[in-house]
Point group: C2
DNA sequence: CCAAAAGTGTTCCGTCTACACCCATGG
DNA sequence: CCATGGGTGTAGACGGAACACTTTTGG
C-alpha cells in the first residue's frame, strides 16, 4: 500500500452491456429482469462490477462471456455514466459497452438460465436506472458508424443474402433503402464476396449467399456505404 | 450504510481534460508538468479525482473552472480509460473530457499559476500515463463531429472573420480547403451571420466580421459543412 | 400456373471540385 | 505604388436518388 491517492475516495464502477441482435428483420436487444436489489424485477441491461484485477474492457468481455458463452464478440465502448444518483442503491459509475452478436450463435438454454430475452427496439420497456439512456446513445453510435465501419456482419451469420444485409441496414437506420441502389453499392465493395452457395430457405427461387472477407478489409480502406 | 454492493471493491475514478485552443492558425492543447507523485515532472493533461458528491460531468466542469476560471465551456465526454496499470501509482479509472475554448478568454496569470501552457498538436510531447491516447481519441472525435456540429465557434472569439473560421477547419481536419468553395458553403448557412463590423488587424483592406447565432441554430437543423 | 422473392440499368439532378483574377488599403 | 490579405463565379465531373420489369421455382 503505497497510498498515493489515499486522501481521495473511491467509488464502485460497473459495466453494462447493450447487446444487439438481428432477427425477423428487426433489431433486438438482450435484456432481462433484475434478480437482485435494488431494482429487483425491473427490466435491465446485463452488467457487472469491475474487479480490481481487470480492465474495463476485460470486465465487459467477462460479462458477455458469462451471459452468452461467446468469446469473440464485436464490442465498443459507448461511454461512462456518472450521475450521482443514477443507481438507486449506492453511488455507482457505469461504463456502457455496445455489443453486436448473431442471434443464432446464442442458444436458448443460456437465455433461460440468465433470465434474459430478445426484445424488439420498438417494444423496449422502461429500463432500470439510466439504461434507456445508454441504449439511446448506443443506437446513435451505431447509426453513425454503420456507414464507415463494417458492423453489420456481426449481426449476421457468416453466410448471408443481400436481402438480409439490406434489412440490417434498414433496421439500424430506420428507413427503407432502394434495392437496386443498395446492390449496386455492394458490388463495388470488394470484401463482400459472392459465394457459389445458394440459400433456398427464404424464397423459392433461392438467393446467392455472400461472405464478409475480413482480410480483404483493412482499416484504412475507403469504406463507404 | 445500506450496503447493497459491499462484496464488490471500489476504485479511484478521475477525470482528465483535453483542452483545445486555436491560435496562430494552429490547434493547441493546454498541458502542464505534473506537480505530484507519481509521474512528477512529466507532461500531462489537467485532471482531478471524482468526489462522492459530484457527477462525472460536474467533476470535469470543476476541474475546468479551477484551471481556467471559465464557467460556460463546451465539453464532451471522450470515453473511459480503464487499463489496470494505466496509472503508475494505483489502479485509477479515468474518464476523459474534451473541451474547446477561446485562447483569448484565458488569461496568462492563471496559466502560470497552474503551470500549464498551450502546445501545438504537432509538437506534443510524450504525456503521462495514457494521456496521448486520450488526445488521439479526442482528435478523432473532433474530426468526425466538426462537419455535423457547430464546434468551431467555441475556439473563436464571438466575432470572427471567414478566414479565421476556415483556418480552424483546416487545423482540425489537417488539410487545406479551397477558399471560394468554403465561403460558398458558409453563405448557405443561415446561422452564421455577417455583421457590419470590420476587422482591420489582419489585413490592410479589412475583413468582415461574422457571428454565430446560437438561437438560429437548432439541433435538428440539417447542418452540414 | 401463380405467388413470392431475386435479380438487374438508366436517366436525371444536385453537389462537390477545380480553378484565377480584381479589390481595398496601409505603409 | 506595391505588397498583402479579402473577396467573388463558372463549368465540368461525380455520385446519389428515383424508378419497373423479368426470372425462377415450390407448392
Amino acid at each position: 500500500m503505497t497510498g498515493f491517492y489515499g486522501e481521495h475516495s473511491k467509488v464502485w464502477v460497473s459495466v453494462d452491456c447493450i447487446i444487439f441482435g438481428f432477427d425477423h428483420d428487426k433489431l433486438k436487444l438482450l435484456i432481462g429482469k433484475r434478480q437482485m436489489d435494488p431494482g429487483r424485477g425491473e427490466w435491465s441491461l446485463y452488467g457487472g462490477f469491475v474487479a480490481p484485477d481487470e480492465s474495463l474492457e476485460d470486465a465487459a468481455y467477462r460479462v458477455l462471456l458469462n451471459l452468452t458463452g461467446l468469446k469473440k464478440i464485436y464490442m465498443k465502448q459507448v461511454g461512462a455514466f456518472g450521475a450521482i444518483d443514477r443507481d438507486p442503491g449506492e453511488r455507482v459509475i457505469s461504463v456502457a459497452y455496445c455489443a453486436l452478436i448473431n442471434v443464432n450463435d446464442y442458444d436458448a438454454h443460456l437465455q433461460e438460465e440468465h433470465g434474459v430475452q430478445w426484445v424488439s427496439l420498438d417494444e423496449l420497456p422502461r429500463l432500470y436506472s439510466d439504461h434507456n439512456e445508454m441504449v439511446r446513445k448506443a443506437i446513435t453510435l451505431l447509426r453513425r458508424r454503420i456507414n464507415t465501419e463494417p458492423l453489420s456482419f456481426n449481426l449476421l451469420p457468416s453466410l448471408f443474402t443481400l436481402t438480409q444485409l439490406q434489412h440490417v441496414y434498414e433496421a439500424i437506420l430506420g428507413e427503407e433503402i432502394d434495392k437496386r441502389n443498395f446492390r449496386k453499392r455492394i458490388k463495388q465493395i470488394d470484401f463482400i464476396e459472392k459465394t457459389e452457395l445458394i440459400d433456398k430457405t427464404t424464397s423459392k427461387r433461392g438467393a446467392a449467399l455472400y461472405r464478409f472477407n475480413k482480410r480483404a478489409y483493412s482499416e484504412d480502406s475507403t469504406f463507404k456505404l
